[in-house]
């Protein structure tokens, strides 16, 4: 692996991270402006998700070109999975709030408890396993098999499956155009992520090409995530005529 390939790959990964961070920035700005905890959490979730995807890609690039320890890739993927679950949970609860009949779709209030239990158990098991291997000087490989493989997948699989199954239904049934728009843009982000990271990049054998294709997907997906973040709530433009007329109210604290 030439050092120039590594530098190019890292620059591309940083660019993808920056693109995703821009979407995260808007999500955090909207979060700051809102007052109700549920909607603030939803904005926080999408922001964390954007950052986690960028960091996971950056770490993957670093481990491919610079041999960063694979144990930590578990942490970066776990961060993504937890952010995805957090956002999925808050989005489903926000959808319930906007439903005139306040329906608890898929009995989510109960189902999420099962999901949380599964994720926590798997995370504890995986962390203990990795720690055991590291302390005993065993090499942790990315290609675990059998029960270990299933245990490693659970923290990621549960949020991904929950999001993939529940959210499209939530989006279709919701009568709230704001939430639907938010979910549609997120769906496009997921499509780009799947298409470029899972499908297109596997057509290349050269690691640099693979990573560059993934980063292109992340840049395109980053735009969708930015639009998704901006769709969390309607953002208006100030009326210039009214802003020119300063009102006479004093600052008063109640």
């Amino acid at each position: 692996m030439t050092s120039s390939s590594g530098i190019i790959a890292v620059i591309a990964a940083v660019a993808a991270l920056l693109a995703l961070s821009y979407g995260a920035y808007w999500a955090f700005e909207i979060r700051r402006a809102l007052a109700i905890r549920l909607y603030r959490s939803q904005a926080l979730g999408i922001g964390l998700l954007a950052v986690s995807v960028g960091l996971a890609q950056l770490y993957y690039t670093g481990s491919t070109f610079y041999g960063w320890p694979p144990e930590l890739s578990f942490v970066s993927i776990l961060f993504f999975a937890l952010a995805l679950f957090y956002w999925t949970n808050t989005s489903i609860r926000a959808a319930r709030q906007s439903d005139p009949l306040l329906r608890d779709m898929f009995r989510w209030t109960q189902l999420r408890q099962l999901c949380v239990a599964l994720i926590i158990t798997a995370v504890i098991y995986d962390s203990a396993n990795i720690l055991y291997n590291v302390l005993n000087g065993y090499v942790v490989t990315a290609t675990a098999t059998g029960f270990l493989a299933i245990a490693f997948e659970i923290p990621v699989l549960v949020p991904v499956v929950a999001a993939a199954i529940v959210l499209p239904v939530v989006g279709l049934r919701s009568k709230d155009p704001v939430l639907r728009k938010h979910l549609v843009w997120f769906g496009l982000f997921a499509v780009f992520l799947l298409a470029f990271i899972e499908v297109l990049s596997s057509a290349f054998t050269d690691p640099l090409q693979t990573i560059l294709v993934q980063d292109v997907g992340l840049l395109l997906g980053g735009y969708c995530l930015y639009r998704s973040a901006r769709s969390l709530a309607p953002i208006n433009r100030l009326d210039p005529i009214e802003t020119e007329t300063p009102p006479s109210a004093d600052v008063v604290k109640s």
Partner: protein, 223 residues
């Protein structure tokens, strides 16, 4: 005048709060804190010994939890809850006639007292019924509000309804207060403005607002 429960907002509105025998609409996106204005309005009314009717699509438990987050406590002096769960009167969103009848009956029973009504069901009703049906329902409700010297505060979600529906709703109410998110460069600002208020000269301009543990801060927006 009926105090909003927030002195800073009272100053912005008409000096002392919402005009008597008026219907006021709070418009804003979900999560911006419209409901908090309803909580303070209800709390202020109860503290003054007024009668307060709170119509909500949520359960009373959910509203009380939400109130706590804003430092409001209506557990000592309780409004008459018209809620989906836990209220003195059961609220069924599919029974618009029942809703109208029950509100009228409550107002009639409390005639002679100062009455305050808070309603957070308007967006839900608009989602389930044709707008014309809701306009008729509101016209009847507003007539009752005026007959019994009440002040009504209703919330409406921004972004959930067609612009023409929103415009028609704003036309129906005596006062409209907007709480919206605005873009200023790379910042998102929550700003408030009084679109109209019956009997009060138009007051142009935006106001910054933020929620604190004890209330709400309102200050003139300076670009």
């Amino acid at each position: 005048m009926a105090s909003s429960g927030i002195p800073a907002l009272d100053k912005v509105l008409a000096g002392d709060g919402y005009p008597d025998r008026s219907t006021v609409l709070l418009v804003g996106p979900p999560g911006i804190g419209k409901e908090a204005l309803g909580y303070w309005f209800a709390q202020s009314a109860l503290q003054q010994g007024d009668f307060c009717l709170y119509v909500t699509r949520l359960s009373v438990k959910e509203v009380l939890q939400d109130e706590k987050g804003f430092g409001v406590d209506t557990q000592q002096k309780v409004p008459l809850w018209f809620a989906s769960e836990g209220g003195q009167i059961k609220y069924d969103i599919n029974d618009l006639a029942g809703l109208s009848y029950n509100i009228k009956e409550v107002l009639k029973q409390n005639a002679g007292r100062r009455i305050r009504v808070v309603i957070d069901v308007l967006s839900s009703l608009l989602m389930l019924n044709p707008p014309e049906t809701i306009y008729r329902f509101l016209t009847q409700l507003f007539a009752d509000v005026k007959q019994y010297d009440a002040v009504l505060l209703a919330t409406l979600e921004e972004g959930m309804h067609q612009p023409q529906v929103l415009a028609a709703m704003q036309q129906l109410f005596d006062g409209v207060v907007e709480m919206r998110l605005y873009e200023e460069g790379l910042r998102v600002l929550p700003l408030l403005r009084v679109r109209k208020m019956r009997g009060v000269p138009p007051k142009p301009g935006y106001y910054n607002f933020s929620f604190t543990k004890t209330g709400m801060e309102v200050s003139a927006y300076d670009k």
